[in-house]
């Protein structure tokens, strides 16, 4: 039963990571833009959700509000700052987005205070479901997994079956070519960016209900998310999905089965092994 439970936990954590990785990998894939501030949007989403909930008393509504408001913040950041970075090298991008992380972390501290917040769940989600005698599992974790799977299928359809998705894929493999064909890649990119930020905010509002909402919550998960997209191959949704599940499961099982030292570095070993074997990740889109 332990194995089943940990597998479910691992998948759930992996799918949370996928919500973050999906947006980040598209952004990195199309615009070659490294955004270290993606974790900040995860944090901002969680804070907005927690605060909205104290006003409207509805988890679902606050989730939607968090998603939309954070996407707006993301779009604003993109239009004001990030837009100027696309023509620059990765070093400038890393430093500027790192500056954004500093700024957002402190602003959240100033606006929402230093104390951690919490998000409470509606009764129906707060319970556990009884699978068999002696084995029950929290419904909310299943809900998170459900959202993750739904988003994965939705994105797969969007990217592989729609015109917008075709442009995204084309942009990832050859940006200047599709620009030459008259596609407004900047507009497309701003939309993809806002969409990715919205997903990150949803992930924050979901995970915030499990682990609490605090400043800096985005920093660690950002690093794991970066590992996910590098393992999966930059720009690839399938890669992000497989990478996220791998990282989620390895991390969760590592915590249970390995000695503490090895457990906390298992994900990084996984990534080093993958990159040693395949320097461009599991599902390479571009190099």
């Amino acid at each position: 039963m332990l194995i089943v439970e940990q597998s479910l936990n691992g998948v759930e954590f992996g799918l949370t990571l996928f919500l973050l990785a999906a947006g980040l990998t598209l952004v990195l894939g199309i615009m070659r833009f490294i955004n270290l501030a993606h974790g900040s949007f995860y944090m901002i989403g969680a804070f907005i959700a927690a605060t909205t909930q104290t006003i409207v008393h509805s988890y679902l509504l606050s989730l939607v509000v968090a998603c939309l408001m954070t996407a707006a913040v993301g779009l604003l950041t993109e239009r004001i700052v990030f837009r100027t970075l696309y023509e620059r090298g990765p070093l400038d991008q890393v430093i500027v987005t790192y500056g954004i992380v500093m700024f957002f972390n402190e602003m959240v501290r100033i606006i929402f205070g230093n104390l951690p917040l919490s998000i409470s769940l509606p009764n129906i989600m707060a319970n556990s479901v009884q699978f068999s005698a002696g084995f029950s599992y929290p419904i909310f974790r299943l809900v998170i997994s459900g959202v993750g799977v739904a988003v994965a299928f939705g994105l797969y359809f969007l990217v592989n079956r729609t015109r917008a998705g075709m442009l995204i894929r084309a942009g990832a493999s050859d940006r200047s070519m599709i620009q030459a064909l008259g596609i407004r890649i900047n507009l497309l990119f701003a939309l993809v960016f806002a969409f990715g930020v919205g997903l990150a905010a949803v992930a924050g509002a979901l995970a915030g209900a499990l682990y609490g909402v605090q400043v800096g919550m985005g920093d660690n998960i950002l690093i794991l998310t970066l590992m996910v997209i590098v393992i999966g191959g930059i720009g690839s949704i399938e890669g992000a999905f497989v990478g996220a599940l791998l990282v989620g499961v390895v991390d969760t099982f590592g915590q249970v089965m390995l000695p503490p030292t090895l457990a906390s570095i298992s994900v990084y070993i996984l990534m080093a092994v993958v990159l040693f074997w395949r320097p461009r990740g599991l599902f390479p889109v571009y190099g």
Partner: protein
Amino acid sequence: MADPVATEAGIEPASPIAGIVRRRLIHVGVFVVLLVGPFAARLLGQPFYADVLMRIMVYGIAAMSLDLIVGYAGIISLGQAAFLGIGGYVTGILDYNLHNGIVWTVGPVHFVGSSAALVVWPLAIALSALGALVIGAISLRTRGVFLIMITLAFAQMFYYVFLSLDAYGGQDGLELSGRSAMGPIPLNNDLVFYYLVFVLFAAVFVFLSRLVNSRFGMVVKGCMQNEKRMQTLGFETYRYKLTCFVISGAIAGLAGILFANMNMFISPGITSFERSGDLLIMGILGGFGTLIGPVIGAAIYLVLQLVLGSYTTHWQAIFGPILIVIVLSGRGGIAGRLYGRQGRKW
């Protein structure tokens, strides 16, 4: 008239003599400030300023080591703090072992602790270099974003390993019993230690200045500008870059040793993502590819942190935007401006 090719490659424009003179003046200025710093601080009645200068030098050594790979070889690493951690923890752990009588036994060999600088420091530097060899050998197979991420991953590995060393303080870190022992030189005297750091700082600067202008340095710079071309010329670019990475790691290890000795304390924070980020910020502020630039950047960063921090605990809310504006408007950082450089390569 400026040679457009030279300008594009980030080489001195127009009058090379003026550039060299200006550069020399900056170097002399920095070293004079560092040399007379402790006395000036005492005259001003602010001995704390000497501490700041010492921090600047130690961070400066680390930032110069990063400059070697970022500014000259084009290897952008987000994991330089890993080597700070190795250097610092080797120093800290051996000191702890010595004072608690811990002996590590591997087969017939017994490793006792030590706080002798002439034993510990070379060992710590050698282990940092070894760490850099392993990390570099794997990381340098990748490039661009992947390289940034994999160096970050390795630094995180070290961070979590140090975090899990419960015998050596774990999360809370490890207090050293004192500074390393160096024969008759009393390093526990702050002024003596300051000048030891100064000498090492100067040595690193001179060594790196010579290195980047040597044949080796030329090859490495060539790799940054056009690696394919260097390969067609018959250079094994991977080996050159790896050597460069190892030298950089060894120097960062030295900075780690000095960190541990300066604070007489070491914690996993030294290997954190933020620390690696700090070093990159220093380089960007001062200008990579100049060696002295990252040192100036370290000074600006540490002083700004102190000044802003004295007004508000939320100094990062102000520093973040400052950093963004500097990067977006800057051309090769402060040193780049002082040097009159026109552009840069990464």
